[in-house]
Symmetry: C2
Subunit: 140 residues, 2 copies
């Protein structure tokens, strides 16, 4: 078992990268007062008012229970509201939710800028594509 052998393990390198970039994302989103994932969810809601939770789950690649919790938080922050219709919950932005959109987009662009500057824009794009592809290939 050689030294530094963890570097050769995808599980490890990906998890580490995940921690690092998550911290960067929190940094970028801090001014909005919303954490990154909640922010993305909010943007999805603004992008498609009335979106259902399963659609959110699909887009965000998260489990329904997690989505419930996240929507709860948006609601409790006054940024969104649930309109239950039969078995489906439709999520709509409130006025406050609509208003926070530009700030969220700014945070997102900022995040992009920060990691692109550190990685090189093209390298960043390539890595994004590669991780997206890999995630698709592995989830089977």
């Amino acid at each position: 078992m050689p030294e530094k052998y963890l570097e050769n393990c995808l599980y490890f390198t990906v998890n580490k990268l995940s921690r690092v970039i998550s911290k960067m994302a929190e940094e970028s989103f801090r001014p909005t007062g919303i954490t990154p994932t909640h922010g993305f969810m909010m943007m999805l809601v603004n992008n498609k008012p009335g979106i259902s939770q399963s659609e959110l789950a699909e887009e965000l690649h998260m489990t329904p229970s997690t989505i419930t919790r996240f929507v709860d938080k948006l609601v409790s922050k006054g940024l969104a509201e649930r309109k239950v219709q039969g078995k489906v919950s439709h999520i709509h932005p409130t006025q406050a939710g609509i208003e926070v959109q530009t700030e969220l987009e700014k945070a997102w662009k900022d995040l992009y800028r920060v990691y692109s500057d550190l990685l090189g824009e093209e390298e960043g794009k390539a890595l994004t594509k590669a991780t997206h592809l890999a995630a698709g290939q592995l989830e089977s």
Copy 2:
């Protein structure tokens, strides 16, 4: 704001990949009765008996508090023991800890096999290298 735009966000793709590969790792390590990260820690301890917690933190890229909790768990499972010496804790494997090593290595190889088969071995290696590099570049 285009459709499917989250795919172009490194934060997102990396987090998704992290979730996917973490689940695969849990699968591979399930037979050992130890979760992947605890397993890696155990291997590090076997690899260098008497290793300090800060060294573990460094290798695993995790915070000291997390290391404390993880070591606690190894100890409570009877796989390792702390020998406190001044302000430093030295972690040693117990007999049970030593004995679980081969099974852990098997699980680890299995994980490698599974994702290599799905990604292609060379592609997997390339991605591992790329994520490792990126994590290094971003943590500044």
